[in-house]
Symmetry: C2
Subunit: 184 residues, 2 copies
DNA sequence: CGGATGGTTTGATATCGATCAAGGACAGGC
DNA sequence: GCCTGTCCTTGATCGATATCAAACCATCCG
């Protein structure tokens, strides 16, 4: 109630569900990110789901806003966090609106890989996605079957491999980023 | 160079283009909104295109940031603007990832109608979209043909009508919002 | 071990929207 | 008036992805 969270450990999916059950994951949040800031009168604009065990700091929204107004550094950090989230969100729109299924999956894998490396979620190869096919599908606007087939295509092209227990090994980072249109 | 803008009059489309020419409009900005804040070292994350004649205030990014740090009110306004943009962006992801073509177009028309009313772009009916089929298509992740056919479907259902010169008349606001899944 | 369970993959078919191709409608210029 | 270009609509076909269905494969548990 009137709270928001800064993630210390773990991964959170931010999503929105339609009345008929269709769901879109609109963002993935990693350690250092905030969740639940888009709230008004106790109503949150989006839902949050923990994909792993999560450790987070809870802040009281009202007190935080008061504190921000006398702490320029904090305000700057908040602006930075929101800017970064906005940029990410715009990129997701690009992915959902313009890329085809295999491009989306390639983009997703490259994104996850970069995110986890950057935020030290797990430095280890192979990469643990922390998401089932169902979450990936809801993030990319696809079905689980199409996600599965796209992963199959990337495997057959020698770009990735999968280990038992579902982890992914990126065999060719260069070509993965090309396939996901995120080369630049 | 290091500048961003606050729109005083007119509509701006924020977009991103892939190397192969595919383009996604990631946001529409109306009077009161800012454009070009997501910039780093002179590189903008997205492109902006004026859909109408635009009147805007230009701010020097560096000076503005300095000024923000000593003006809590301004910081709060910036946070508010970014929060609102982020919420909008998440909703666009939902539209692109989950809605089918006619739902997307209905959503778009309801959104434009609400936006223009709220920002006093033009109070007049019929509604002038200020976007050609091509811009609508790039915003909704569809082709111009599909946009055209979807508008046709909404017309045949008696939800909207079009006037010569392309303006749209919303005949049944209730059903339009239902069709665009934005009833709630 | 055998059987249930949940997630993933694979296959067959259907559907929506893209693509390709014409055909209006309207404005501007000669 | 007539030509030209641009934008929008309409039609026919194709193709990517959804849907439906079944098989596969771990893991868990009796």
């Amino acid at each position: 109630m009137g709270a928001f969270f800064k993630i210390r450990k773990g991964i959170v999916a931010v999503s929105h569900t339609l009345e008929d059950g269709r769901r879109q994951i609109t963002a993935l949040r990693a350690p250092g990110d905030c969740v639940g800031y888009l709230e008004k009168d106790g109503v949150y604009a989006f839902e949050g789901e923990a994909l792993t065990d999560v450790e987070a700091c809870a802040f009281d929204r009202r007190r935080f806003d008061d504190f921000v107004s006398v702490q320029p550094d904090l305000a700057a950090a908040l602006v930075e966090a929101l800017s970064s989230a906005l940029k990410q969100s715009g990129m997701l729109s690009l992915v959902l609106g313009q890329l085809r299924s295999t491009e989306r999956v390639a983009h997703f894998l490259a994104e996850i890989s970069a995110l986890y490396a950057e935020r030290h979620v797990s430095l280890a190869r192979p990469l643990t996605l922390h998401m089932g096919r169902s979450e990936i599908a809801d993030y990319l606007g696809l079905t689980i079957e199409t996600v599965s087939r796209s992963i199959g295509k990337l495997k057959s092209r020698g770009i990735i491999a999968t280990v038992e227990s579902g982890e992914v090994v990126i065999l060719d980072d260069q070509r993965l980023r090309e396939a996901g249109k995120v080369s630049r």
